[in-house]
Symmetry: C2
Subunit: 339 residues, 2 copies
């Protein structure tokens, strides 16, 4: 006999069991029409992930689906230079429903994601909605955060002459997915982990926000080629990108080669990096090196902000036209305007 | 030539145009990784609506789909006795995308919903996410609100002897949907409006919260037969429901009769009423009558809170077993335990 699927009320019971009331955070627990916070949180972000678009259950467990959805929100809050707070979860479940074991896997993904990010004090599921989806699983997390009254990092403050930097190698998540799809996850376990259980820069973000040399920042979630133009548009400037400088781990280069993929394309177009891209003053290198040392990260310059709008690519000083584009949810006409 | 569908960035542009930055509410507008609020909001709710489950585009326009999704959130905040604040919108759009006209219809539904609720000062779209759905439209709104430092209404504070009351007739929304499905919307235009553009008790809720005679409250969204047991469970008590007292408008009785439906079933099981159900002290009638007069509502007792768990139904003093159940997203085993 197959295990029965849970009724809505039973699902809410499981959520309450995994996330018992935190009276230090809310005046009461999950289960009313809304939740009341005891503390003020001044930043908000939301991210939705849909089965068949953002994930494929053949390659991603329910545990990892929930883990990744929470990380994507954590990354947005980190890129603003803020600390994560409480969140709501909306679960639209397939018509046939989920068993208790399946619901518990989803919830364990949220619990493990918080642990993997050092269990931030106020990161806690405080409410949500459980509904039936017409087809496949859709998760929406809305995460609050706190600036602690300090400066937040914006996309729109890049200055001409700034260095474009990232703080860790790129392309691992995209390679991880490609490996899983090819049934060759064994080739690069770290890349598979980068895809399945990605870690946002939850601690690095708030430190960067307090460094005056960091002018602008954003989170890389749709691929550098999609995301960088958004920072440039917000800052009303252009940039040059030096592709030979893109930091790509040896494991990613080797794995890409074994699959016949371009490691450059993975680093340029790969989505769901959940890494921070920043525009920093060239004078701030010393201070930034110290921050990176403190957080076990590297300061990795990949380009420079220019006054002239548009994005120009160079490879070893020659102009270059990438062959791939970042992940677009809909046909993205903007990209062609950036050449 | 068919009108082109919009790219993700173009959709965000339309949202920014419909909801320009409000520097009194946020430190900057839509378009960064997260948004920063200037004011504290201490309550949060979230509601998801899926095409094929919560709505059918044959009977509901994009305008009304967005309107209803916002109302469902407003109703949760109202039932807590709080005032609505800013909200985020997550749009998972069908693969083929939406045209500019379609996106503008969705956004107009949000704008018109706020107007229909008296344009609450802090009710404003401040951020969100736009993604591709594997099949059909999925909307998630996360709405913040404010208790203004005053008492919030809980589900869990009903007391034995309390009257169960509603403040307006029931069943109109369910009849409206049934009429649209039957192609007979002309029979009861008010019921159709109650379904298409429902109004939450945004002003009534905070007033009720300041009336000590109101012990507990919740919002009716899945039908009285589904929702009332939740209030009883939270308050650890039972109730008797007097079905002959259920307030049902003459238009709803007549429309139900013409479709061969039971008006009682519509009032008992009809979802998406977005009305407040409350447990009130029998001593508070005078005060509550005054509140109702102020808000153009009626005090409509439908039952009584009992110590013994479970829900008992009466019709003209005889015990009665309803033929229909409230809307359950998944098979809801709890209902059978309440007889």
């Amino acid at each position: 006999m197959p295990e029965p699927t849970l009724a809505e009320n039973d699902i809410i019971d499981r959520i309450q069991a995994a996330f018992p009331e935190r009276l230090d955070l809310c005046t009461f627990g999950i289960g009313d029409d809304a939740v009341q916070l005891r503390l003020p949180f001044d930043v908000v972000t939301t991210d939705t992930m849909c089965e068949g678009v953002h994930f494929d259950r053949r390659f991603t467990s329910l545990h990892d689906i929930a883990f990744r959805c929470l990380t994507s929100n954590l990354s947005d809050i980190a890129a603003m230079g803020c600390s994560p707070g409480p969140y709501t979860l909306s679960l639209a479940l397939p018509t046939e429903g989920y068993t208790r074991a399946e619901i518990d896997q989803l919830l364990a993904g949220l619990v493990d994601c918080a642990k993997a990010h050092g269990q931030p004090e106020w990161l806690w599921l405080i409410g949500g909605d459980v509904v039936r989806s017409p087809s496949a699983l859709v998760l929406t997390i809305t995460l609050m955060g706190s600036s602690a009254g300090k400066r937040v990092l914006r996309r729109s403050r890049a200055q001409v002459g700034d260095l474009l930097v990232v703080f860790r190698p790129l392309g691992a998540s995209a390679l991880g997915l490609a490996l899983l799809q090819a049934g060759r996850g064994d080739l690069a376990p770290q890349a598979v982990a980068a895809f399945c259980t990605p870690i946002a820069d939850t601690a690095l973000g708030p430190t960067l926000a307090q460094c005056p040399a960091v002018h602008a920042a954003m989170d890389l979630s749709d691929g550098l080629l999609n995301d960088l133009p958004r920072l440039l548009k917000a800052s009303n400037c252009g940039a040059e990108l030096h592709l030979e400088r893109l930091p790509i781990a040896a494991e990613v280069r080797a794995g890409a080669a074994q699959l016949g993929l371009s490691h450059l394309d993975l680093a340029l177009a790969g989505g769901e990096e959940y890494a921070i891209l920043a525009a920093v003053s060239p004078d701030g290198q010393e201070e930034l090196d110290a921050i990176c040392a403190e957080h076990g990260r590297d300061l990795l310059p990949i380009g420079r902000i220019l006054a002239k709008p548009g994005l120009r690519y160079f490879f070893d000083s020659s102009q270059y036209l990438p062959t791939s584009s970042g992940f677009a949810h809909f046909p993205c006409r903007d990209l062609t305007e950036n050449t």
